[in-house]
């Protein structure tokens, strides 16, 4: 069910949706959004691209093996606990640094954790969709 309109549109939509997902992730601490939704939206973006252009193209666009994305996500989330570990605080105590840069403001370990969730959810969803799609082809 290849459609040239969808295929063309999906390229732009992919970028837009990805930007939107990062936007959701970053503002999640103050407004609706966050790592879960961000990751899901990003995954949906790739899913759309996959529907329009097929699995091979989608895999090329993603570039990384989804399982690696899962690993990166999980490790990032765990890494956010390291500062508390080093400092001898209770596990996963948050640490914040004020960067002073406008729009970004304070940066802390919870943001890192959220980033981990983002990658993890993205990786998991892609992993499932890609595996199923590959199965379907073979």
């Amino acid at each position: 069910m290849y459609s040239i309109i969808l295929a063309t549109a999906s390229r732009y939509l992919l970028l837009l949706l990805l930007i939107f997902s990062v936007f959701l992730l970053l503002r999640g601490h103050n407004e609706p959004g966050g790592g879960f939704v961000g990751g899901l939206v990003a995954a949906a973006a790739y899913a759309l691209y996959f529907i329009a252009n097929g699995i091979q193209a989608a895999k090329t666009v993603v570039r990384f093996d989804p399982i690696r994305i899962i690993a990166v996500g999980l490790l990032t989330a765990i890494a956010s606990a390291l500062p508390s570990f080093v400092a001898g605080e209770r596990f996963m105590t948050a640490f914040w640094v004020d960067t002073g840069i406008p729009f970004i403001g304070k940066v802390g370990t919870p943001l890192l954790f959220d980033l981990g969730i983002y990658f993890l959810v993205l990786g998991i969803t892609l992993c499932i969709i890609f595996s199923l799609a590959e199965e379907e082809r073979s």
Binding site: H29, E31, G34, I70, M92, P110, C127
Partner: protein
């Protein structure tokens, strides 16, 4: 002592390595281990002889009263010396004997573990510690009986021994716990003076029965005797060590150890007396049927164990004295004879007494050893067995009521033992030479030294009874009766009734031997009807348990998913309904009925799509219904102040549709599989769940919500979490560990998906 035992276990573990290294001389190396223990404990002899009791205690679980505490007194020292001495003989012997077995290293591991555990058993002061060692000896015995695990009969015998003694072990555990309830302690030494308290307690009969069941199973007393002859499947050194000299004496030890603390009552004494006496007689009679050397010895061992238990049941000073002399004498001669039987088996290739004869020229040293041990076993002057038997007779004659009956029984039993001895100790060596499967040679030194040493000790103790045994005896009797008793053992006491009885025993024994030799095989093959044999009871029980397990499993795990679900659901519904019903009075149902137009529309969509989902047979319709349902719920979330939930739901529903399209696209349409009666039943069950949940929600929301958390999060989100989206702050900061766990679960689910899809199988499901 704790350290010694730890060394024992470590050394056992090292055995296979050492065996690989030394092989030929391995027997000589292993023998150092029991010898080391033997002399180590022998060095404590002067202290014990002086009446001292050595105690050691290391806290283990102090809050539960469990300590690694040990007690060395006359009783335990006697057992320790027997265990280590015979251990040394057996270890050395096995070095040569076990050559034809493949896994010699493993054999030494098992037997090393056994010896250490047995030492632990007799040294333990804490009853729970003793229980642990008790079970360890049972397990090592299981492994050793089943050593020829490729033989079915071995496996069966091993399992039987494990089940019988293990069952007894459980009884012991319960007994110990009851005893703890009464005395408040697990330390044997601490309820030394509590006999009065224990024997008058309500739980006393239960304790007695449980402890005695444990002792009777371990020491193979009637009606639990049947496992011991079957245990002869084990390699001969094992039979010599575990199943005649040591492990089967653990039960006897337990009775002796507890005698002072919980004994002395008619219940205790009579039970012990009757069980012991009946075992003594019955197993002696059963020995009549056997021709296998090891089985003959096994039945005579049973008879001796019965005698020992009976002596404890008599409980007089003289009986206890007899108990000790008999115990030591038996360990020495029976160990030696078992090893001789093993040698015969090893050299000739047969263990059938009927096929052996005239070996004295080929194996002169073995013949001598066998003769010495046999004389002791028959109770002929001047060996230690003679003193043993004399004292046994004397102590029985002291009895008033049972005396005449018991003395007849004892003479009869001993006559059978004499018969067994003639078959095992003399017949193979004297008389005409018989053809055997293998050409016999004199046994190697390793296989001679052990039995010869044991037999020689039998002679030595017989000649010099007061040199060593008497002192040990005094202290041991002290441990059992807590009465001091000066003992002088004299071997020759003149011509009296007891001597006459001894002669009578020998005479009957000889006659039995002649009758048995002439008897046709037909009579021998006679068996009791099944219902009279305890081993048949055992098998029936085992079959019953297996049958019950099968039926029960088939009933509970029937393979129908919905039956499991129905059970779970109905249980939940009935319990929860009961709880709701009981608290019905406190619930004030005052829900909010107000509703706006678009809420009504959402509810309508949800209801319709649910109905569609339940009834639809079309895949496409179902997926659409599922999507509509999800999005409606998402909108409800948004309306009621949860935009994050709404967003997530929308994203997930979108992905869900993709998933379903990918999977369901290629599947057949649904069929109506269930019968309509089933559908009706399921609808009823489902309805009950629905009603219950509705009421639960209503009930739960009728209570005043007093969660401090809401306020806490509201106030600390910005100052503490640096975020204004409270939900997200909870997720990534306040409850981040939860979230971490949850995303880990997700990662695992994804890996599962990949594994399921990518690991191709060839259709067999393997």
């Amino acid at each position: 002592m704790l350290i010694l035992l730890a060394i024992g276990y470590c050394a056992s573990a090292l055995a296979p390595l050492l065996y690989k290294r030394f092989r030929e001389n391995f027997g000589w190396i292993t023998v150092t281990f029991p010898l080391f223990m033997f002399f180590g404990f022998l060095s404590r002899y002067p202290q014990i002889a002086a009446g001292e009791v050595i105690r050691e205690s290391v806290p283990w679980v102090p809050s539960l009263g469990i300590n690694a505490s040990f007690l060395l007194d006359g009783l335990s020292l006697s057992f320790v010396l027997i265990i280590t001495l015979i251990g040394a003989a057996v270890f050395l012997y096995a070095g040569a004997y076990m050559k034809r077995y493949a896994e010699t290293g493993r054999f030494y591991v098992y037997i090393g573990i056994f010896m250490t555990s047995m030492l632990g058993l007799v040294l333990s002061d804490n009853m729970l510690l003793m229980f642990v060692f008790w079970e360890l000896t049972g397990i090592s015995s299981f492994l050793l009986i089943g050593f020829n695990h490729h033989k079915e009969s071995s496996r069966k015998a091993a399992l039987q021994a494990l089940l019988v003694t293990g069952g007894g072990g459980l009884a012991l555990l319960v007994g110990i716990i009851l005893l703890y309830r009464v005395t408040g302690s697990f330390e044997i030494s601490s309820f030394y003076d509590m006999n009065g308290v224990i024997t008058t307690h309500v739980l006393y009969p239960a304790i007695t029965v449980l402890v005695l069941v444990a002792a009777f199973t371990k020491s193979a007393q009637f009606p639990f005797h049947f496992w011991l002859p079957n245990a002869m499947e084990a390699p001969t050194p094992v039979s010599a060590y575990l199943h005649s000299a040591t492990m089967v004496k653990a039960g006897v030890y337990l009775i002796a150890r507890m005698n002072h603390e919980i004994g002395g009552t008619p219940l205790w004494q009579d039970t012990v007396l009757v069980a012991g006496a009946s075992t003594m007689v019955l197993s002696a009679l059963l020995a009549f049927k056997q021709t296998d050397l090891k089985k003959l010895l096994a039945y005579s061992t049973l008879s001796v164990l019965g005698t020992l238990v009976m002596l404890l049941g008599i409980g007089s000073k003289l009986a206890i004295k007899a108990f000790f002399i008999y115990l030591i004498a038996h360990s020495l001669y029976k160990g030696a004879l078992f090893l001789v039987a093993g040698t015969l088996d090893h050299e000739t290739g047969t263990r059938d007494a009927a096929e052996l004869g005239g070996l004295r020229k080929r194996m002169p040293l073995t013949t001598l050893t066998a003769a010495l041990a046999s004389l002791s076993m028959m109770g002929i002057i001047p060996l230690v067995g003679f003193i043993g038997k004399e004292t046994v007779y004397k102590s029985i004659l002291e009895l008033e009521y049972w005396g005449m009956f018991l003395i007849a029984a004892a003479v009869l039993a001993n006559a059978f033992v004499v018969m067994v001895t003639l078959f095992v100790g003399f017949k193979p060596f004297w008389g005409e030479t018989m053809e055997t499967p293998r050409q016999p040679h004199e046994a190697p030194l390793k296989m001679l030294l052990g039995p010869a040493l044991l037999a020689a000790l039998g002679l030595l103790f017989g000649l010099l009874p007061n040199f060593f045994i008497a002192t040990m005896l005094e202290q041991s009797v002290l441990s059992i009766l807590s009465e001091t008793l000066s003992l002088k053992i004299t071997i020759w006491q003149g011509f009296n009734l007891v001597l006459l009885l001894s002669f009578l025993t020998l005479l009957i024994g000889g006659a039995l031997y002649l009758i048995r030799s002439k008897m046709s095989e037909k009579v021998v093959r006679m068996t009791l009807p099944a219902f009279m044999r305890p081993s048949a009871w055992y098998e029936a029980t085992l079959r019953g348990v297996l049958w019950f397990a099968t039926v029960q499993t088939r009933l509970v795990q029937n393979g129908y998913l919905r039956n499991y679900i129905i059970v779970i659901v109905l249980t939940t519904v009935s319990l929860a309904s009961l709880a709701l019903y009981r608290s019905a009075g406190e619930i004030g149902f005052a829900p909010d009925f107000s509703i706006t137009f678009y809420e009504g529309a959402l509810v309508f969509i949800i209801l319709v799509s649910t109905l569609l989902l339940v009834n639809s047979r079309s895949r496409l319709k179902s997926i659409v219904a599922l999507g509509a349902l999800g999005f409606s719920i998402g909108i409800i979330f948004v309306i009621y102040g949860a935009p994050d939930l709404g967003l997530t739901t929308f994203a997930i529903e979108t992905l869900n549709v993709i998933l379903f399209v990918l999977v369901l696209y290629k599947l057949p349409g649904f069929l109506k599989l269930s019968r309509s009666s089933n559908r009706g039943r399921d609808a009823l069950i489902a309805l009950s769940v629905g009603v219950l949940m509705t009421f639960t929600v209503l009930a739960a929301s009728s209570f005043e919500l007093s969660s401090g958390l809401k306020q806490y999060f509201a106030e600390t989100s910005v100052p503490g979490g640096k975020g204004r989206n409270v939900v997200n702050v909870i997720l990534v900061d306040f409850r981040a560990i939860d979230t971490l766990g949850e995303i880990t679960v997700l990662a695992v689910a994804a890996l599962g998906v990949v594994a399921l899809l990518n690991l191709r199988s060839d259709g067999g499901g393997r």
